[in-house]
Symmetry: C2
Subunit: 235 residues, 2 copies
Amino acid sequence: MKPLLALYEKDQPFKWQQLNPARFEHHEDWFKAINPNGQVPALVDAGKVITESTVICEYLEDQYPTAVSLRPADAFDRAQMRVWTKWVDEYFCWCLSTIGWERVIKPMARALSDADFEEHVRKIPIPEQQTKWRNARNGFPQAVLDEEMRKIGVSFRKLEARLAQCTWLAGEQYTLADICNYAIAIDAPMIFPELANTRYTPHLVAWLERMDARPAVKRMMADCKLEFTPQKAAG
Amino acid sequence: MKPLLALYEKDQPFKWQQLNPARFEHHEDWFKAINPNGQVPALVDAGKVITESTVICEYLEDQYPTAVSLRPADAFDRAQMRVWTKWVDEYFCWCLSTIGWERVIKPMARALSDADFEEHVRKIPIPEQQTKWRNARNGFPQAVLDEEMRKIGVSFRKLEARLAQCTWLAGEQYTLADICNYAIAIDAPMIFPELANTRYTPHLVAWLERMDARPAVKRMMADCKLEFTPQKAAG
């Protein structure tokens, strides 16, 4: 969703193709020819492939410096933006991801026969991803799930504290920091009502509502069926 | 070393203060007033604090666009640079780090009495870092060390494959991708002679030699005593 929303905010034309993880489309040869890691998203622009969602977002700003800028002009504010996008990639997305895998990928993987499952796993190019599929099928240990839930609570409280101080995560300007965090936190009050709600995280909830109300978000939601995101599926 | 080398390459004046991890200086109150996470590096510029080594490097380019540019002008090349700096932060630095902790932090932590150790751990603001200190003192399980060694091998082979194609990691221009990878790989042939050597990773070794020969690297090494980096200490 990160590059998708950046494209909508910047109003750039593009052709979008969604892959179905239930059919392991991102591990098919035609997609691995685009991204050898077999991971979404990938942007093909002028025949060149750019991978990694946060890197794609920065690329869009570098390559298409339109009137709508999603990066602060001030170098210090830009650094704050990057601390927030980096935190998503190194901490926030991972705890949510494990819970999503437990709730969505586990039943998907268990619905397959052993032979079919192994055939799919063989097509996954990254060893760590193979391990994650196997762990998801086995079910993550409760201690792992408990630790990830702790980190989710830490994450929501961190966002709440920041959004009590600023309108947007990098300060007073809407930036890639908001886009990258929104892509992960979007359904937090629905999936984790005990951790993200109007009583405990009012500023986080209000920020999510400000995000939901943005014209670009509304257009994206109307155009794109995003039901395969783990967050949506987990809900 | 990342921001330090970027500052030397850009020939910007700065005052440098090294902290001694053996005395837990980065967990002292005066430093936590600068970076509440109690982690180095931190850059103080015009009274503002910028943290996270890779973010600081990008900040230096944004704030000081000198004749020496450490980022490609082309947006696609810049994205490649960011894929490489991101990979350092999310994969490469962690496997090296665990081995460094096992070899350097473990004896350091074991040299303390239980009471002194607990007193130091209490001052560490990040729970995951507290856990890492405890794990290091206990000694990492052999399965963890084996997996990290596997990843170190993967990392060196990945760098070798790239450097067989290009002079520098982001292409034909020397960039932050080289600086960020050098900071981690600098002593690879000395610490892991079985994995990084002229026979198995000749292009990686040649790139390290090109890095070592850069005037900015030579000036940095002459000026700064870097003996407290885990890599140096592990050697």
